[in-house]
Point group: C2
Chain length 393, copies 2
């Protein structure tokens, strides 16, 4: 089936259990699907835009209310929507980082934080994760001191991934923020893997900003996300425009330069809004997600030679495993070579593994039913047995 | 009908002829509607992302091909998609503008160009439109000389709206670019009202950049747009990342800092792609749009006291009129006051007029059938007659 010139209709999540590490949290809810159909047109949310003419003031559809609700939900003071978490990082970096300024990231930071630092002219300095791939407050303190020696001043900003994209490990953002604040460094909690997945309380973490991703973790179309700030920091990043036309003397009201004015004018925003009640609810049942992950991980770990590279027990369902001493030993002699695992999984109705991966790979059990988790667990074990790998128990 | 908590299903373009000035070019095509349903999920286009792992390299769906096709269509060398034209302006401003640098805009420039200049720390200097609300090469030359006197150097960049948002007037971007290039000033053609509406040839215009808006003029969901560059300028704005992790020594491949990596990961991009063949085709029939606009404008101008504030005959269907001496004289004594015109239009199946507008307002006939244009023309005349205004002919 095609939906346009050369564009096949996508049916990945309709036909398969999808273990792709980044796609699970961004699958639309049924309400978001309806919203996408109703608000597909370009400027669809602007029908009732009235003075002061800014997206977050529109009350029909209830965009203004959504902004307030998200702020309350994250226990932060001010929220804006952005075209992806990365655009939140960019807005913050452009506000605080000048040419040559040191900025803290971590050795597990997402590349978009590096790009935000680079675009602002800053210099990235990584806080080292420890042997268990965890970034700690102690390592943060050490790095800040190191930066002070190198640059003669403290970093101007810190981006900390609450759950990192490499291991899906949970880092002590609250403890890190306390250390950073001793040096007056504003702290961004990168919640791309947490906001919309598990409960996040910005004030409890003590961070200056919480950034979330709509298409990664809030069941929303791309590109979408949220940038939440404390009242104090909101005044800085969400400052209103001061520029003026030299001839016309035009000013531009309450538009915000770091937001480039209005941000998500249609389907992305309404999709995020329609999913929001469901997203709020699902974060309350995050324990079920960890339980599903445990079922799959126990199956994987029962296959001799398989190791979990992420912290274990898991605190997030996105997980990195090492099957070099299990599935990869099969690849060497299998007629499909490294593609055998992906192929065998697809035969069992599972997709989302990187083609050719048999050594180190990531998967995500997020959003599965208990039955799907059981099926996936059984699939891994069956594929192992079919290929002569030893399975315990 | 609702599509989520408090979100009413939008049916504006299903139930009415919509004359909103900014919405007409962003209505989805049927193929885009199908694409929106099939690719609603967050990271929907990333199923087949392979090395070098960048959005514009994905071949299934045919994203790479789309990028090439758009570049060829605009007669430019390199194209990227962006979350709205404004994000294209931002990328360009961040590349060329340093703190305190003068940047040319026009007295009719869109506010997002000002915000891009402001965010980059630049100083906006407007080229004055003439009495006919047209920005000319002569005025550009005069302004550049004025800037040179004021700043001791030429502007570092020029944003020129090919068709402006205030009057929908067509400006001589080619002539302006020739003048600007005598001073080595890169020129951005803001095609938010033209790319996807009428034929645009970047090389013929001689500009360095062409920026288009998906949700404004390419029948795509928001936020979406394109940034096209010459080969030379593409190397500057689409430069790849150089930043490196100081501990991990990580580099980030061919990701582009001004794009913040990948840009449109799902529905926005596929919507734009699905509409693209139709959008290409419709630009070839732009004469029909002007003819529809003429039918409506002649009706409006037959109402005594009505004036066209845009250039006339029209070169674009988005038009600004002054009805202070016609419809506004009715508002003074009508029981619905200034809302009578909007109300009367809605009774005749027409929506999109700003509520309360009876003095100076904009409308757009883009995308109407000949019959709809005739209906709209008749509606204006009938409302005038019903309210005792004199109508010629």
């Amino acid at each position: 089936m095609r939906c346009g010139n050369g564009i096949e209709a996508r049916q990945v999540d309709e036909l398969f259990i999808n273990i792709d590490p980044i796609q699970a949290g961004g699958r639309l809810t049924a309400d978001a699907m309806k919203a996408v159909v109703a608000y597909g047109d370009g400027y669809s949310v602007c029908d009732n835009c009235r003075k002061p003419n800014r997206l977050d003031y529109i009350s029909k559809p209830p965009i203004a209310e959504f902004h307030k609700d998200v702020a309350a939900w994250l226990n932060m003071d001010a929220v804006r929507t952005v075209p992806g978490a990365r655009r939140g990082f960019q807005a913050i970096a452009q506000t605080y980082v000048n040419k040559g300024d040191p900025v803290l990231v971590t050795s597990l930071s997402h590349y978009t934080e590096f790009l935000a630092v680079e675009e602002a002219g800053g210099v990235a300095r990584e806080i080292a994760a420890n042997d268990r791939k965890i970034v700690t407050p102690e390592a943060t303190a050490a790095k800040i001191e190191e930066v002070k020696k190198e640059f003669g001043r403290a970093p101007v900003l810190a981006f900390i991934d609450q759950v990192d994209y490499q291991y899906g490990n949970m880092h002590d953002v609250g403890g890190i923020a306390r250390v950073a604040h001793q040096y007056d460094i504003p702290v961004v909690c990168n919640g791309a893997y947490t906001v919309g997945i598990l409960p996040v309380d910005g004030k409890a973490l003590g961070v200056d900003f919480v950034v979330g991703s709509g298409h990664k973790s809030m069941a929303a179309p791309a590109p979408s996300g949220i940038l939440a700030a404390t009242a104090e920091r909101g005044k800085e990043v969400f400052r209103t425009t001061l520029i003026e036309g030299d001839i016309t003397r035009r000013k531009f009201g309450i538009k915000e330069p770091e937001m480039m004015g209005c941000t998500l004018m249609g389907v992305t925003l309404v999709g995020m809004m329609a999913s929001f009640p469901h997203v709020k609810e699902r974060t309350k049942h995050f324990d079920r997600e960890l339980e599903n992950n445990r079922i799959v991980m126990e199956a994987l770990l029962s296959i001799e030679g398989t190791a979990c590279l992420s912290e274990y027990p898991r605190k997030h369902p996105m997980t990195r495993v090492d099957t070099t001493a299990s599935f990869d030993t099969v690849a060497a002699s299998h007629k499909k070579r490294g593609y055998f695992l992906q192929s065998a999984l697809e035969e069992k109705g599972v997709t989302g593994l990187i083609p050719g991966a048999t050594k180190v790979w990531k998967f995500n059990t997020y959003g599965m039913t208990r039955r799907q988790a059981g099926h996936l667990a059984d699939a891994f074990v069956a594929i192992a047995r079919e290929n002569g790998l030893a399975v315990r128990g």
